[in-house]
């Protein structure tokens, strides 16, 4: 049986505590997207996420369903923050379970690439007010760091 969920929640995501093992799963992969403390050479206090909620929910659910079918997954669960997420905190989590690791790892890459193309979510850095130079006119958005548990 397949399982899918998508949730968009205010502020940072809580620590991942899901330890349940799924019968038949040989791989459970969890990606935590964590806000970095630097944008280029400038420090930031966090990222502010804006979401177009109904469409983001629709797009993420469609991508999750496509990933389930395309990679033969058993589970896919998506969580994304809206609002301010401080540096060091988690703004995006993807949990995938599959019979073998290859499908889970391939699906992880595929889903994140597609989300970054199509999910209507925007982030704006909140710069530290510690005397740094003013922000550039068109700041480059930092990518969250990946934390994949071994």
């Amino acid at each position: 049986m397949q399982s899918l969920s998508v949730s968009i929640v205010d502020a940072p995501l809580a620590a991942n505590t899901a330890t349940r093992s799924l019968a038949g799963a040989g791989a459970v992969v969890v990606f935590d997207g964590v806000v970095r403390s630097l944008e280029g050479a400038r420090s930031i206090t966090g990222l502010r996420y804006e979401t177009y909620d109904p469409m983001a929910q629709h797009v993420l659910t469609a991508l999750a369903q496509e990933a389930l079918d395309k990679f033969g997954l058993m589970e896919i669960h998506v969580e994304h923050s809206r609002g301010l997420v401080a540096a060091g905190e988690c703004s995006f989590r993807l949990r995938i379970a599959s019979p073998h690791r290859r499908e889970a790892l391939d699906a992880m890459d595929w889903f994140i690439d597609r989300m970054k193309q199509d999910a209507p979510i925007w982030k704006t850095p909140e710069f530290s007010t510690d005397g740094d130079a003013p922000p550039p006119a068109n700041p480059v958005q930092p990518e969250p760091e990946a934390k994949v548990p071994s």
Binding site: E50, T51, H58
Partner: protein, 82 residues
């Protein structure tokens, strides 16, 4: 008919508002007509709008998509989730 086109992210910041009211024909209006009106109303955004996609009722839609009264139309610029 009047449709309020939703703006988000950097394009909303540049426009200084979260939606733009647009008037299009009651019958036969398409997203191409909506885009043309947006360019006319917000000419300083035309260059940015050219690289944006449009969505109708929470799904991306092509320029030839006919719109109906009550449709929710949004401009989706470069996204940056994750």
């Amino acid at each position: 008919m009047r449709v309020d086109v939703l703006l988000f992210g950097p394009i909303a910041q540049r426009a200084g508002r979260a939606s733009v009211p647009v008037e299009v024909a009651e019958d036969g209006a398409t997203l191409a007509h909506v885009r043309a009106e947006l360019n006319r109303i917000e000419p300083e955004l035309a260059r940015d709008l050219a690289s944006c996609r449009l969505a109708v009722n929470h799904a991306f839609a092509g320029e030839n998509t006919q719109i109906q009264t009550g449709d929710e139309i949004a401009v989706i610029g470069f996204v940056s989730g994750g």
